[in-house]
């Protein structure tokens, strides 16, 4: 078997041949037991790789290994088509094309794909974790911030499920209580809807005045 033929069988196994090339190779496979043996060998190698991937997936617990398991399951679904080659050694050339349908493009290196999926999942987890930690590190300014009325309406529209997605909101509130020290007293901060923006209110709990009753935070 020449190197060109071997490469053709590999491309056939990978589903990279054109329909005409695949059909021609079908006839050759039906007539040439050596070619069928090469193709069967490729199928066995593929099964071994898939089995390794599945074994790793079975032992995995984290999300990355779950992705790997899914890749292995996808690869295992292709195997039945490859096992048809084992019985084709004595088939007549006229009956052979029915046995060797042009394969759908399949993965040759599922383990490599699984490894890539692991890296992608790990990178996504790192990005998500970094973003979460960044949000945690921010000062609690947003809760005390007032946005112009158009931004408030945008945010409310974003909360509605059937409303169109608003454009990116500029992350600069019109007014913000950045820090407050109530000292030994009690107090609270809240927002009151105003004319154009929500107005931040710092409400202090004061001792009763000489001529009045105690006024507590409502």
């Amino acid at each position: 078997m020449s190197r060109t033929e071997h490469q053709a069988v590999m491309r056939y196994y990978d589903g990279e041949l054109s329909p005409a090339e695949a059909k021609a190779l079908d006839w050759r496979l039906a007539a040439d037991p050596e070619l069928r043996g090469v193709l069967a060998g490729l199928a066995q190698i593929g099964e071994v790789v898939v089995a390794v991937a599945e074994a790793r997936a079975a032992a995995a617990d984290d999300i990355a290994e779950t992705v790997m398991r899914k890749v292995g399951a996808e690869a295992s679904g292709v195997r039945p088509r490859l096992t048809l080659l084992a019985g084709g050694a004595t088939a007549s050339p006229a009956a052979a094309p029915a046995c060797f349908e042009p394969p759908v493009r399949r993965r040759v290196w599922p383990a490599a794909a699984g490894l890539a999926a692991v890296f992608v999942a790990a990178a996504a987890a790192c990005v998500a974790l970094y973003g979460w930690s960044e949000r945690e590190a921010e000062r609690p300014v947003l809760a005390l911030s007032a946005w112009p009325s158009d931004r408030v309406s945008l945010a409310r529209r974003a909360a509605a499920p059937d409303s169109p997605r608003p454009e990116r909101v500029q992350a600069v509130p019109a007014i913000a209580i950045e820090s407050v020290d109530f000292g030994a007293r009690n107090g609270t901060i809240f927002m009151v809807p105003g004319d154009a923006v929500d107005t931040p209110v710092v409400w202090l709990v004061d001792e009763p005045a000489e001529t009045g009753d105690r006024i507590d935070v409502p």
């Binding site: 009151v192 409400w203 004061d206 005045a209 009045g212 105690r214 409502p218």
Partner: protein
């Protein structure tokens, strides 16, 4: 002749002792003999407009001098049916120069312009102190766009509370009375 010699000796002695006396540090706890000249206050670039309102349930409604303030018609301010304008003050602000305002209940509101930020934002601090120097509201730091108000409320005063409405405006030749640019 003798008196002239005595006078010369006295003058010489004083001239020799004077630099030594100046080099001596002031004893601890003793105020300097000559008070330092007050630092010149830089020209105000901004001003804090402070409205002091008195909220009560006296059935008088909202003072027309207050103007339009929808916040007073919403909780918790709507729990009072009367708002009277006690004072309206404009405190000129410049960086690192605190301004004080005595409130009707005797406490002192102190505001200071900390920083002027891009896009017409400023950072100011405010505090309210007792007349005896004690803290009431030690520190409040606000980052605000010019013209936006914030409210400090809750101080008891004559059967009601005080509501301080504070708004920062720019001061300049191209700015109008309310701090807005002239068109």
């Amino acid at each position: 002749m003798r008196s002239t010699c005595v006078a010369l000796a006295t003058t010489l002695a004083l001239a020799l002792l004077a630099p030594a006396a100046q080099a001596e540090p002031d004893p601890p706890g003793k105020p300097p003999a000559k008070a330092e000249a007050p630092k010149p206050v830089p020209p105000a670039t901004h001003r804090a407009v402070v409205l002091v309102l008195h909220a009560t349930n006296s059935g008088r409604g909202i003072d027309k001098r207050i103007g339009k303030m929808p916040e007073l018609e919403k909780p918790p301010f709507s729990s009072f049916d009367s708002y009277r304008l006690l004072m309206r003050r404009r405190l000129p602000l410049s960086k690192s120069a605190a301004r004080k305002l005595r409130l009707p209940n005797g406490r002192i509101l102190q505001t200071e312009l900390v920083d002027v930020l891009p896009r017409e934002f400023v950072r100011i601090t405010a505090s309210i102190n007792q007349p005896d120097g004690g803290d009431f509201l030690p520190l409040l730091e606000v980052k605000a766009k010019l013209g936006q108000s914030f409210i400090v409320a809750g101080q008891s005063h004559k059967n009601g509370i005080l509501v301080l409405v504070i708004r920062i405006e720019a001061v300049g030749p191209d700015k109008g009375r309310t701090g807005e640019k002239k068109k």
